[in-house]
Amino acid sequence: MFQVVEMAYGAIVHVHESAIPKGSDLRVEALAAPSVFNEGRIETMRAPERRFDIFAILTGLLAGGIALSSPSWAKTHDVAMTAVETNVVIEGGGETYAAWTFNGTIPGPVVRVTEGDTINFTLTNPATNKNPHAMDFHAAEIDFLKNYRAINAGETISFSFVAKKPGIFFYHCGAPPMIQHVARGMFGAIIVDPKNAKAWPKADREYVLVQSEFFKNPDDVQAMFDRKYDNVLFNGGIFKYHPFVTGGGKLDAKPGERVRIFFVNAGPNEFSSFHPIGEIWDNVYESGNPTNKLNGVQTYVVGPGSAATFDVVVESAGAYPLVTHSLTGALRGAIAVLLVGPDAKPAPLMPMVPWVLPAKQ
């Protein structure tokens, strides 16, 4: 357990209680950086039966460059993304789409941190772009006005946050019209692993799946408002993981493995009814938080802008399509076949992103 010490100016220090001798005062002395520590004033808190001066710990934290708002064991991650307006392959026949992306792919890169970690984020909107862009992390609890504002081409914005809650979270561009920026591909997933790895069963294999709607005319914002989508995508592709469709691949697993799907619904509008054909979800974790646990679930609805983590243990070799059971969505592209066999090889979190089509044999 951690003792939380809140300083006068609002900074928070987490100190593991094992580091605090019994019968001591918990004394926080802010000496190292007056500008940060509100003119060096001393704050003292009383911890029952404990007496402890943490000056040395604070000095060590500062010397190590660790953010004060993070637990001492937490890490700091510098995450930089670039808004890229580019063409991406959208289906297995090689059709491309004038997308707006983070780092050139749909979805953008998966950000993965551990609960309590600090993310120092920077978004660059290159001068060569034609549109303003922004970033909204659903894993963050920070001021939207200051941090999620849109920046014009040629500008950069930076902000920091602590990933306080574990789970799988959506991130997306929030520049107006947000519906278009999301529809054109500016979204992705951030995984915040629980600090206690034993909070849930260890997964043998993990995938990230992001569902979204595809509008063939990227400039028809009215069609986006009217929900007149053409296709539904998993990880930015029409039938990307459907081996019976041109250019389609698959997701692999071995019999008996616990396969964990970090699922995000980017929308912008439609709900997903996520179902494993031929299987039952062993566990579903709402928002990917291990404490939000369900057992034995056939389908689970994930709304636009939401996410959940799905565990399935497949005992027998074979094919198990993962679909949205909203069938107009499944049969327009949202089918990912989990192919289970003894020879399954390790795979990245988001296979086939970007979608590179094979050359002729």
Binding site: G104, N217, K228, F244, V245, R332, G341
Partner: protein, 123 residues
Amino acid sequence: MLNVILKASTALIIVCATTLPFHSLASTAVPKERIALILTGSHCQEAQQSVESALRQTNGVFSVDGLSVPGHLLIDVEGGKASTNEILRVAETSINISLSCQVEMMQSCITTPRRSVTDARVK
């Protein structure tokens, strides 16, 4: 060092982005259709190699994948050059008559409607 790599990657992405033409949907490859066949029978492992070989020699066949989905053949054909029936016929006739192996079109609940991306729009 990391910063240098990051900056170089960013620059590369920007260069790529700015040199690509912008359009909504554009074909960058020959239109293809995937035909999925299922092989059932006790001798299909023996028969599969000759089936794949025959299919690869068929006009219009872009690729034949007999590994990705066990017991199945995934055949990509160039649009309009080889019909589904023709592919099925080639596969059937390539199997030695003494072997027990039946070839059929793969159909299931995840069989997708045969239509292009561009005519799938919700009306």
